[in-house]
């Protein structure tokens, strides 16, 4: 597409098309959007992050990422729709404008570029990275079990052939380490939202222990308001709560790492489930999913804006 208006969200797009779309968005909103390359994947594909900023130096920031499990087109599709929405609404929507006048937003739309490409070309159901494990013929690590947050604990697998294989050590995957390095270097990230599909859930730490975080009450309230806002558009019912109480014990996850590293507002989204197709979401549900998710994201981002720490 020559510009981002004509983008067809109901079709899959190659990684190159998504990266080219990112460049188009930057060209259309040059005063707001720029691109950082924070690393490269195992197979040497660049890892790009969109930066939405109205100026200032090292402002407090919100981190968003989509598509860590590559087979779920709905997640990067929602990411692209959301990125466009942020760009379009700045200067139009007073609340988003107030967020961007105070904070930067970093948005990694394709968190697992190798997995995404493999999904496109070889195995539609692939969900891991593509790194090689020594001593095994099985390939890839679950990038959402690879973070240094009770790494290797409950809800992870040590078997390289499993879909929840944690990897040989924390941050062994360059796709994960690139984010870790970026956020630790930045030092001023105040919120981290990682967007997956599908289970219709909004969760906060912890995933590896049932002990509540010191901020559990506040995170509960934020999640509730986000889920209420989300449901107001199409009536989609989300469950929410700490990861371990809502879905299952999971160690080494993005959200737990974020919280453990001082990012209080750390959430994981599981997008819409049709109850029939799972992440093979019908094309006509992609934009409604993105639209309802936007309302929840706004609630989270507004809370972060209004509760500096």
């Amino acid at each position: 597409q020559r510009n981002t208006d004509s983008f067809d969200y109901s079709s899959y797009h190659t990684l190159e098309e998504i990266y080219s779309w990112m460049d188009s968005l930057i060209a259309e909103f040059p005063d707001l959007v720029s691109k950082l390359t924070i690393g490269s994947s195992y197979e040497k594909r660049p890892i790009h992050v969109l930066k939405f900023s109205t100026g200032g130096t090292n402002r407090p920031a919100i981190w968003l990422d989509t598509g860590i499990h590559a087979r779920e087109w709905i997640t990067p599709a929602t990411g692209m729709w959301t990125a466009k929405k942020i760009a379009q609404e700045y200067g139009q929507d007073p609340s988003l404008t107030a967020i961007l006048n105070k904070m930067d937003i970093f948005f990694e739309i394709v968190t697992n570029p190798d997995g995404y490409t493999f999904t496109h070309t070889t195995n539609r159901m692939w969900r891991k990275t593509r790194s090689i494990s020594s001593g095994s013929s099985c390939i890839g690590v679950d990038p959402n079990r690879n973070w240094d947050a009770n790494f290797g604990g409950p809800g992870t697998s040590s078997n390289p052939c499993d879909d929840t294989y944690k990897g040989p050590f924390a941050h062994s995957e360059s796709e994960v380490k690139s984010i870790v390095d970026f956020i630790l270097r930045h030092k001023n990230v105040k919120a981290m939202v990682t967007i997956h599909s599908y289970s219709q859930m909004l969760m906060y730490p912890y995933g590896y222990t049932s002990t509540p975080t010191p901020d559990a009450d506040e995170l509960y309230a934020v999640a509730k308001s986000a889920v209420d806002a989300l449901g107001s558009l199409h009536g989609t019912k989300y469950t929410f709560g700490s990861m371990i109480s809502t879905i299952y014990p999971a160690s080494g996850t993005t959200a737990d790492w974020g919280y453990s590293n001082g990012i209080k507002y750390s959430f994981t989204f599981e997008l819409r489930d049709t109850g029939r197709y799972g992440f093979l979401l019908p094309a006509d549900q992609i934009i409604p999913t993105a639209e309802e998710t936007w309302l929840a994201l706004m609630k989270i981002m507004e809370h972060v804006r209004d509760h500096p720490y």
Binding site: D8, M125, Y248
Partner: protein
């Protein structure tokens, strides 16, 4: 490109922690090459699993012999992927 002809996705509803434990046992049977879309955790959460065509019979026998309820959520995954592809091509042409 890998094909998923005859693969089914089952939505399994466990009624007890004992059935969850059985499903976790099933999950450990690597030769079946099951792909758990939603893992067995607790009875209130349904389990979705893609079962390769070659493993359908043993998996169904396992579930039935333990009285574990399931529905076929996707009857033939490749048919769904083909129709998804067709829908996308149509959309692209439009």
């Amino acid at each position: 490109q890998k094909l998923f002809i005859g693969d089914q996705v089952l939505r399994i509803t466990a009624e007890s922690h004992e059935q969850i434990a059985l499903l976790q046992e099933l999950q450990g049977l690597e030769h079946l090459e099951l792909d758990f879309w939603r893992e067995p955790v607790r009875p209130s959460l349904s389990v979705d699993v893609r079962v390769p065509f070659a493993s359908l019979q043993p998996v169904r026998v396992f579930l039935q012999s333990h009285g574990i309820q399931y529905d076929v959520m996707i009857d033939n995954l490749q048919v769904l992927l083909d129709s998804e592809m067709e829908e996308m091509n149509h959309s692209r042409q439009r």
